[in-house]
Subunit: 280 residues, 2 copies
């Protein structure tokens, strides 16, 4: 792929720092600039060599960049991309937000026609946040969804896809709408359920918690404010996924009430087949 | 603790083999006999030194044992304990079944008054079954619930508690009823939900499955027939736990429908506090 001169990463948390580490390892640019609100995070990001330079000033940080990757919470992305495009209208800009439809359509309406924004969503992360948890291999073997819309230019989309592929990710193109429907089922609903289980377990029973509960509720440890944003920015699709799940739960409830062994086992068997097919 | 002369383990799967390995390591008996239906499992259990001797014949296997541990699926336990007590009425007998109320009360009604059965439930396991996955340290740091009833003799309960403690487990005494309510919430409900999520994820979205989905659904890979038995033997408590979860889900649904950020974040925050408190 054609290398970049200067990559700016806005938000140097787990994902931002991991992208910086991988981009530097693969020598995808002459320099990587880290931009953040907190000097302490920027210091950590620089100390672990995720970025070459840092600043808390967005406009100054992106000046001169030919690729900008916005890795901030989903509520902030639209305004930040607008500010970035105002400074470097010729730069390729992407983000790593977990939902895409609201964001992409807000930007389609507000950005100048010849700007170069293409949305992305790397399907990776973890409960740990902060640049010190960044890993150059975080995206290796993971999927990054790239979500062009009608206004996206083919060459921009291709360069963004090539960039993620150069970090070791498998790249999938989807419309923002398709993406949001899919992640509602594969990411947001599991999070909602993990939280519902953790939140509804009576305190008296905590001593009997074991591996199964811990696995099933692991993602409920994620940052509540961040997930509140994700849920609200995709609430219609999450509600649809929840409706689908409630149908399955009703079948399970009926099977339990009727002590219908055959039905119950067939529901468990079907779930097991899906789980087995999707790896460990 | 006072050692045993001969321990018989009925069912040499993951749990049975792990108990054998740990009992042999801790030299808790002169010999450990493995009893199973399949010669192939027995061969594996002997090959990995989980047991000293093996047989497919229940009555012959337990003859001479002073401790018998029944590690077979929950549906089989009552009949097997009855057969064991008929052969060695003086032996201490326990089981590792995941539900206790049905089983303990069926045995209370059917066993002779001076028999020595005390139920147990080691809170450990994994998706992998079979003696080859057994580990001497499987129970170290885990909880084993011991579930005496009114008929249990104190000395028997104490010896069973000491046995599990000698394998490195933390021992908790609960009534069979309390135990079943608790595990409905901490084990059975998470399994039901993991299966519901795996079972209701549309196939088109499989490529977007990531860490969160995989963690949340991991236990849905468990054996469907085994879990069908567990659910049916505890269906009333599982239904009560499900009702409690559905209340939480309704609050989440309302918060999403009303786009009530404060309510949603407070639900997520409460779940996070519980999850954080219960370890990794």
């Amino acid at each position: 792929m054609k290398k970049f001169d200067s990559i700016a990463i806005v938000g140097v948390g787990l994902i931002g720092a991991s992208i910086g580490l991988a981009a530097r390892r693969e020598k995808l640019a002459r320099q990587v600039v880290g931009i953040g609100r907190r000097a302490s995070s920027l210091r950590k990001a620089k100390a672990c060599r995720a970025v070459d330079q840092t600043t808390t000033h967005l406009e100054r940080g992106v000046a001169g960049a030919d690729l900008v990757i916005v890795c901030t919470p989903v509520e902030l992305i639209v305004v930040q991309v607008q500010r970035i495009v105002a400074v470097v209208p010729e730069a390729l800009v992407t983000d790593v937000g977990s939902t895409k439809q609201q964001l992409v359509s807000a930007l389609a309406k507000s950005l100048p026609r010849n700007s170069h924004f293409v949305g992305s969503h790397p399907m990776a992360g973890g409960e740990n946040t902060g640049p010190e948890h960044g890993r150059a291999n975080l995206l290796e073997g993971r999927t990054v969804v790239v979500t062009p819309d009608r206004r996206s230019q083919d060459t921009d989309v291709q360069r963004i896809c090539d960039f993620w592929a150069a970090l070791g990710a498998g790249v999938l193109r989807m419309s923002p709408k398709e993406h949001d429907r899919a992640v509602a089922a594969t990411s947001h609903l599991p999070h909602l359920l993990a939280s519902a289980i953790a939140g509804s377990t009576p305190e008296d029973y905590f001593p009997l918690v074991s591996t199964g509960w811990l696995d099933t509720t692991r993602i409920a440890a994620g940052d509540a404010a961040l997930w509140r944003q994700i849920f609200l920015s995709n609430h219609e699709n999450v509600l649809q996924s929840l409706t689908r799940l409630e149908r399955t739960l009703r079948s399970m409830r009926t099977a339990l009430e009727r002590q219908d062994a055959a039905k119950l086992e067939s529901l468990l068997e079907q779930a097991k087949r899906t789980r087995d097919a999707l790896g460990s």
